[in-house]
Subunit: 401 residues, 2 copies
């Protein structure tokens, strides 16, 4: 009402006295306690250079004035932004609901506690993502990048390497064995192998695998875990594999085909929860019950897994831990010390629910990541074929130059 008249304020009454203190600069702090700018700067960046008495005085003044170094000024001077860039995958990507949701949250938390902020951006394609990288880097808005969703023929790592951008990938450099960048990944093979052994323990011998079409590194990895576990158990694998693109419809169709085939599986390990949901659908179509007539294990432990009826056994990725490692690796990279790229593989954990037929434990809802305690109850008797240990991340030494 009152201010309808003029548009550009004549600048008189505008701001009330207001509780907002003028934002403190380093100069103001300096004057406030009678020392020079640089001393304030040192108090923050190299406190050991100050006499204890001075340090105390300065810190108190900083506190009093609520001073924080201006991001822009500092970053202009130091050429470091303390910001990490990370692409958000299109939400459709995680078909069965947000797993990456929790991962990203953990990523932000880890970054912040390491003194970094996360700049999030959306991109629909790899090329678009590269364009954003280019923009962010030219404007010097980020120090480094967290790369997600690596795949065969991925143009992004090469681009980043060529432009000497510090980055760490979530996901192995599929297809380029001697990549020179750091990455963190989840050992899918170990997850599917666990799933196979779990089903074998329950008495299954014909355990199938529902995977993606050739060309997915993630699926190859998980397939390989299935295959080697089957081999190790002396189980035949022919006629037990179905492949298609990811999705519920695919899962349903593939399952039908396998069940109608010459060697119908009694258990099924799936490359994703979407596939597993499809498998459950197919089972329901015949009036069967998942977990009784066909044992099904998914992958990802997406939020739906525990909501489905019967609930879905699934392999859970340690996404919080992975997020933390991605951040600390990137920060290490940014610290400038030249080191050989690290390659970190983390083991996932099978969450047993109803769909695999083991009725022992059917938790209604499970926490999103590893529970703090040693809750490995169900798999008490871990049959160990290979040496993959559960908790310690496996570090693979760089092989070739």
């Amino acid at each position: 009402m009152v201010e309808t008249g003029g548009d550009r304020g004549s600048g008189a009454i505008r701001r009330l006295p207001s509780a907002v203190p003028p934002r403190a600069t380093i100069e103001m702090v300096a004057r406030h306690c009678g020392v020079s700018r640089q001393t304030i700067s040192n108090a923050i960046n190299a406190p050991d250079r100050l006499r204890p008495a001075t340090l105390h005085k300065v810190l108190q003044a900083i506190e009093e004035l609520g001073y924080r170094p201006s991001h822009a000024a500092r970053s202009l001077r130091t050429h470091a932004t303390n910001v990490i860039g990370c692409r958000l995958l299109p939400s459709s990507h995680s078909g069965t609901g947000g797993v990456l949701d929790g991962w990203f949250h953990a990523l932000c938390a880890a970054a912040r506690s390491g003194g970094y902020d996360v700049l999030a951006f959306a991109a629909a394609t790899d090329d678009e993502e590269i364009e954003v990288y280019d923009d962010l880097l030219r404007r010097r808005a980020v120090d480094g990048i967290i790369l997600t969703n690596t795949h065969y023929l991925d143009p992004r790592p090469a681009w980043l390497l060529q432009h000497e951008v510090p980055f760490v990938a979530f996901g192995r450099p599929w297809g380029s064995a001697n990549a020179t960048h750091s990455w963190v990944d989840v050992d899918g093979a170990s997850g599917t192998a666990d799933a196979v052994r779990h089903l074998a323990d329950l008495g299954h011998t014909r355990i199938g695998f529902l995977g993606l079409n050739k060309g997915s590194g993630v699926c190859d990895d998980r397939f390989q875990g299935w295959a080697s576990a089957m081999r190790a158990l002396g189980l035949a694998t022919t006629g037990l594999v179905g492949r298609a693109e990811d999705g519920i419809a695919s899962g349903r169709a593939l399952t039908e085909k396998l069940l109608d085939g010459p060697r119908p599986p009694t258990g099924l390990v799936c490359v994703s929860d979407s596939m597993a949901v499809g498998a459950i659908r197919a089972v329901e179509d015949r009036g069967w019950i998942a977990g009784r007539d066909l044992a099904i294990v998914g992958f990802d432990d997406s939020p739906i897994a525990s909501l489905l009826r019967p609930s879905l056994s699934s392999v859970r990725q340690p996404i919080v831990a992975v997020a933390g490692e991605l951040v600390s690796e990137l920060i290490a990279e940014l610290s400038g010390v030249k080191r050989r790229p690290s390659r970190i593989l983390r083991a996932p954990r099978l969450i047993v629910r109803e769909s695999s037929g083991d009725r022992l434990s059917t938790p209604e809802i499970t926490a999103f990541d590893e529970a703090p305690g040693p809750s490995h109850s169900v798999l008490a008797r871990r049959s160990h074929f290979d040496t993959k240990s559960q908790q310690t991340p496996e570090r693979i030494k760089k092989k070739g130059a």
Copy 2:
């Protein structure tokens, strides 16, 4: 192998000639085409001040050198960061899976096409969130904030107002009718009213409501939609309401109680999909089928809704549109023109699936949001959204002072 010896590089051979051009500054561009700094600056920020010939020359040089203004330098000088801060809710928050996932993605996309970047951060509590605000603002790392998940007695809007931080809220200022900030929200009442009418159309007369305990603005809103639609239809409402904290267990328990009560509902409108899932559980417990023996409608259309069996009818929020409006409102706010706060309410849309008993449409999977439509994404960086949204949202006039 080769580089096993020394650790700190002696700094000789390290970098190959490399395809990385030295990052261009405004000075370099200026020299490159024989004009002054300021002319380059003008070419970017006020192109109409240049003679066409000069402009052309400069733009070409910019292109050639791949110049982009340094974020830090520009932001130091202009006191604007072109960055928006936004808190990520803990992943557990969206019980049934990532709805906010898609919202956040849309937010980032909208921001970028408006010339802004999004700084994401995690916070567990409101107080922690305020601490992060304080940090970000003191360091001048963001220009403004997108606030999510508003609720009664929310300390955040007050804090932001007091500190004169530009912000827009996703969610109404529950409990403070004459709040002076802008917000965007989804008209929950309209959603539940739609749900009620849908069920009434199917012949139901005893339509219940599963809500949260008193004190949730979101629930009050949705409840109110249910209540007024019932009243408008001349249906009695007594004995048809259950309240508890959100969750599947709650939904199940409440449903049981209602079904065992004196006036068992034949239809149920739920405040959330979690509640609805609980309701489905309760129905299953009695060997009933949702949609046949009890009609159920959820709220949020979370990813599971279409995956459940029977699939869950649910009210879908136009999260992409909301994200876009939040961003454009905030940008308007940041443009500095004093305007009365805008309050935007958008209508959600009921997605009918099996659980409500209307077998007419049972899409397997539905797209996440309204079709994109004539997207404003083409706008060049730094330009602001000019006109208010394309879809004509419903605007509520500011009432009180």
